[in-house]
Each structure stands twice: as structure tokens, then as C-alpha cells.
């Protein structure tokens, strides 16, 4: 039997599945935006961007302590199983329509520096981004792995690899490193091992967890983060198998709801159980759920809280008052036909001090800095804060400007 190719890609001449691919070329219009908008005068920090750590899995596994698990990971080429990292069902690339997915492994990079650094610098330079907080991709679902010991071993190996091979090597890249929340005593050890490493600006809880965030077993994690002055990020993820999402039949549905729902659950537990009162110095950032969920949740929780204060005795003010003191990343910002709602949202979350620009690049629903820069209701001070200033404060960053901006500024 002879097999035919995918004849539905009508413009096969442009199909990156068969062509060489280059990030700078794909993003040439982003670079033009950066120049037209004079970003050379702006410090831009992207607080949520990604790489595909599974592409470097053989390297990462060299950092794994357990030789049996390392062997299992290295033998994961066997057809039909995912190895150490759960694989998500879903078509992020829209069946090839978002071409950078297929193009990714056709991209040629020099031998040095590490491939992930070159790729990151290409999109950062195109967008006008100076520094970026880099996160993994498939590992966002690692917390759903049924074997918690695999989650811990993978997390430690990844954090070591990331720290040594990427963060040590590039001053423009930082990360909130993976925190295995499902195994609290290991999470505590992870904080001790990585809190002082170069480029580590916080710790990251990913997606749906096996125990709620207010579980008593987690209290020492939060105390330790507070001790180290490290923020905690909640990076949302969808998990189609979660019972709340299982009735949804389309990727668009599970993606649209799953990311926000994930953080709605964690935030509700976080606030109603008085975590901000228990750990007043611990800063939290809520990542990749868009923004529309925040006013929704503020209104719902405030309304019920005023009737049922006895249900949440640790609270000394309304839920929204706590939420307004937390940090939020922008992407994927709900931008279609809702300018007024967006403006109200910015007011409700004190965006000027609490909102941090994020692209989520290279994922399909990425946002450029122009999504903030072009908002007519923001003044220049607010734009500067959201695009970089707030990240600089939260992460205590020494800003490193990109080379092209330094050169452009030197030229005047």
C-alpha cells in the first residue's frame, strides 16, 4: 500500500515541515514593531516564555541521580509511550497551521551557545525583549505524573541542567525553577539547592496539583520561600483528564477554560484559606490564564464573602483586596472587541504595579509587547512598568539590555 502525503497543506512551498526555518525571519514584522515603537528606550522583560526541554532530554538526563530512571528516560524512543514526562493530547499547532511548531527542528543554529539560548535570543531580539523568564513546555504537566518520584527526579535534573547550561551562560535569561509541590519535603530541598543560583528569580508551581495549595503539608514550602525572599509562580496548564474539563470535546474549549480554571481553583483556595495572612511576605504571581478571570473571581468571592465571613475566618479584608496585592502575567490577554472591559480589568488589578508583560512565546497564543504598548488607556509610565519595571522590582533584576538596543542608543 502506498501512502500519500498530507495534501491539505495547500501552500506546500511555504510549509516549514519541508523548508528550513528561521525564527528571526518569522518574526521580522515584530522587529519592525520594536523599531517603529522605539523600544530601544524601554527595558522589556518577558515573565513567561518557553523552550521545549524534551529536545534536550538526553542532556537533562545526565543530571539525574537515579541511574535506573535515567536509563528509562534515555530508552524512551520506543513507540507508544511517553517516558518520564506526560504527553498532552491536543493540537497546539492547529494541525500545522501555526508553522513554528513544525519548523522548529528545521532551524539551524551555531554550535555555541546552547541551541536554546540561540533560539531564545532570536525571538527576544525580534520582539524587543531584553530579559526573559524561561519555562519548560511538556513539564508543565509533570505534576500530573502518577509517580511522584518521577516528578521529583525529573524536576531536579531539569533544574540542574537549566541552571548550569542556560542560566549560567546567559545574563538575559532567568527562570522561576520547577517546584515539585506534590512532594513537600523535596520541594523544600529544591528551594535550598537553587534559591541562590544565578538567574533563579523564583519557584514555579505548575498546573493541576495532587493536593490543594492550602494543604498543611505545604506550609514549610511557603515559609522557606518567604525566608529566601523568593516569589512563587502559579503557571496554569490545562489537564483534559481533570473531571471538571472531561466533558469538553474540543481543544479550543479545554484550552480556553482549563488554563483559567486551573488558577481559579488555586487562587480560591489560596485566598479563602488565608494564605496571604499566614505568609504576608510571600509574593505570588499568577501566570498564563489571561486577565478576564481575575475580575470575575474578585466579584464572585467578594459577594459571597460578605454574606459568609464565618467561612473564611482568617481573612481581615475582602478577597479582592488580597488579589489586588498579587502579581499577574498578561498573556493571553483577551483583546478582541473588549477595550472597555480590559480597561476596567487593569483598574481592578492595579495593573500599573501588579501586572507583568509576558509573551508565552513560542506557544501558539503568544502576545507581543505591542499588546501592552498600543493600549490607548495606558500612559507611558504604566507601559514602562508593565513591560519591564514591575518584573525588575518583583525579581530584583539587574536589567540587561539587548545588544541591538545598546547599539541603537549609542548611534543616537
Amino acid at each position: 500500500m502506498s501512502l500519500t502525503g498530507n495534501t491539505m497543506n495547500y501552500s506546500s512551498d511555504n510549509d516549514p515541515a519541508i523548508q528550513e526555518f528561521n525564527t528571526s525571519k518569522l518574526l521580522k514584522n515584530a522587529r519592525k514593531q520594536a523599531e517603529d515603537r522605539n523600544y530601544k528606550d524601554f527595558f522589556i522583560c518577558d515573565v513567561d516564555s518557553h523552550h521545549y526541554e524534551t529536545e534536550a532530554l538526553p542532556e537533562i538526563l545526565q543530571y539525574m541521580d537515579d541511574p535506573v530512571m535515567r536509563h528509562l528516560g534515555l530508552s524512551a524512543g520506543n513507540v507508544g509511550r511517553a517516558g518520564l514526562i506526560p504527553q498532552a493530547i491536543g493540537s497546539q499547532d492547529m494541525a500545522g497551521r501555526v508553522t513554528r511548531y513544525a519548523g522548529r527542528n528545521k532551524e539551524i543554529v551555531p554550535e555555541e551557545p546552547h541551541r536554546d539560548i540561540t533560539l531564545a535570543r532570536r525571538w527576544m531580539d525580534a520582539m524587543g525583549t531584553d530579559m526573559a523568564c524561561l519555562f519548560p513546555t511538556p513539564m508543565l504537566l509533570l505534576a500530573t505524573h502518577p509517580q511522584v518520584e518521577v516528578e521529583v527526579a525529573m524536576a531536579r535534573a531539569y533544574n540542574r541542567w537549566l541552571s548550569e547550561r542556560i542560566l549560567e551562560e546567559d545574563n538575559r535569561l532567568v527562570s522561576m525553577v520547577y517546584l515539585p509541590m506534590n512532594e513537600p519535603h523535596e520541594a523544600e530541598k529544591m528551594i535550598d539547592e537553587f534559591a541562590e543560583k544565578k538567574g533563579v528569580v523564583g519557584f514555579l508551581s505548575t498546573g493541576y496539583l495532587k493536593r490543594p495549595v492550602h494543604d498543611s503539608a505545604n506550609m514549610r514550602i511557603y515559609a522557606k520561600l518567604e525566608e529566601h525572599g523568593m516569589p512563587l509562580g502559579f503557571h496554569a496548564a490545562y489537564h483534559w483528564a481533570d473531571t471538571s474539563l472531561a466533558q469538553l470535546n474540543k481543544f479550543i474549549s479545554v484550552h480556553a477554560l482549563g488554563f483559567s480554571f486551573c488558577n481559579i481553583i488555586h487562587m480560591t483556595n489560596w485566598v479563602m484559606n488565608g494564605m496571604p495572612e499566614r505568609f504576608p511576605k510571600l509574593k505570588t504571581m499568577w501566570i498564563e490564564s489571561g486577565l478576564a478571570w481575575v475580575p470575575f473571581l474578585m466579584q464572585r468571592l467578594d459577594n459571597e464573602y460578605m454574606m459568609r465571613t464565618s467561612d473564611a475566618p482568617l481573612l481581615k479584608k475582602k478577597p479582592s483586596d488580597y488579589m489586588r496585592e498579587m502579581y499577574y502575567s498578561t498573556q493571553p490577554m483577551e483583546l478582541v472587541d473588549n477595550r472597555e472591559a480590559l480597561e476596567v480589568t487593569f483598574k481592578m488589578i492595579n495593573a500599573e504595579s501588579q501586572l507583568l508583560y509576558s509573551s508565552d512565546y513560542p506557544h501558539w497564543d503568544m502576545d507581543l509587547p505591542s499588546t501592552i504598548y498600543d493600549l490607548p488607556f495606558l500612559d507611558e509610565k504604566a507601559k514602562r512598568s508593565i513591560l519591564g519595571g514591575n518584573a525588575q522590582k518583583l525579581f530584583n533584576l539587574d536589567p540587561v539590555m539587548s545588544e541591538w538596543k545598546l547599539e541603537a542608543n549609542a548611534k543616537g
Binding site: Y10, S11, N29, V98, T99, D337, M366
Partner: protein, 121 residues
């Protein structure tokens, strides 16, 4: 309206838009159902190179007489540019976004003369 030379007619295909530059602006030009159409290579969404994306047919769902979904199909009579940045789709015939026609690619009038393609700018 002033005209600018884009390319030779013989450079065009009905598969892939040819990207030409006029006064610093990229314009994608393609044959479509016997016509030549030209659009600015900047997406109305966030500015992606929309003419360089894949060309895909409309996706439809077939329902049976009781409104039950039978299967999905491609409608090859309606072809779309798919912007490679986020996947917004635009009808090649009109430049309108499939999700909401109020979002439109910028279209140029095309003049074909002496084996060459010109746009009015």
C-alpha cells in the same frame, strides 16, 4: 492612483503568495480562482506575516437529518490564508477574517499589463 510594479505575471502561482516589497511595505500576491489578488503582508491581529502562512480550505461539519454531527470536511471552494503567528484565518477572495469579517487584510487593487503585475498604492 499611482501604480507600482510588483512582479511578472509568470512569477505568480496559485499555491504560494509571492512576497514583493513596495516602498518598504511587503505585499503578498497570489492567483486565486482566475484572479490576481494582493494583500499587505501584515496581519490585522498582531502584525504577523499573514500572506506567508499556509493556505488551507474552510473546515465544515456535516450534520445528518437530526442535526447530529457526522464528520468534518474540507471545503476547497473557500480557501484561507492562515496567519502563521496565531492561526487567524482570512478568506483569500475577500481578505475578511473568518471569525469576524470586520477584521480585514489590507487589499490592493491589481492591474495586469504587458505581462507584469502592478498595484495601486
Amino acid at each position: 492612483m499611482p501604480e507600482r510594479l510588483l512582479c511578472a505575471v509568470s512569477d505568480l502561482s496559485d499555491k504560494t503568495a509571492k512576497i514583493c516589497e513596495v516602498d518598504g511595505v511587503e505585499i503578498g500576491v497570489i492567483r486565486h480562482k482566475g484572479d490576481i489578488v494582493a494583500y499587505k503582508n501584515v496581519c490585522p491581529h498582531q502584525g504577523g506575516p499573514v500572506c506567508e502562512g499556509l493556505k488551507m480550505p474552510q473546515v465544515c461539519v456535516e450534520l445528518d437529518d437530526q442535526q447530529r454531527a457526522l464528520r468534518q470536511t474540507f471545503n476547497e471552494d473557500e480557501l484561507h490564508f492562515v496567519c502563521p503567528w496565531h492561526g487567524w484565518e482570512f478568506k483569500i477572495a475577500t481578505g475578511e477574517a473568518v471569525g469576524d469579517p470586520k477584521y480585514k487584510m489590507k487589499r490592493y487593487n491589481v492591474v495586469e499589463r504587458g505581462g507584469e503585475v502592478y498595484v495601486e498604492v
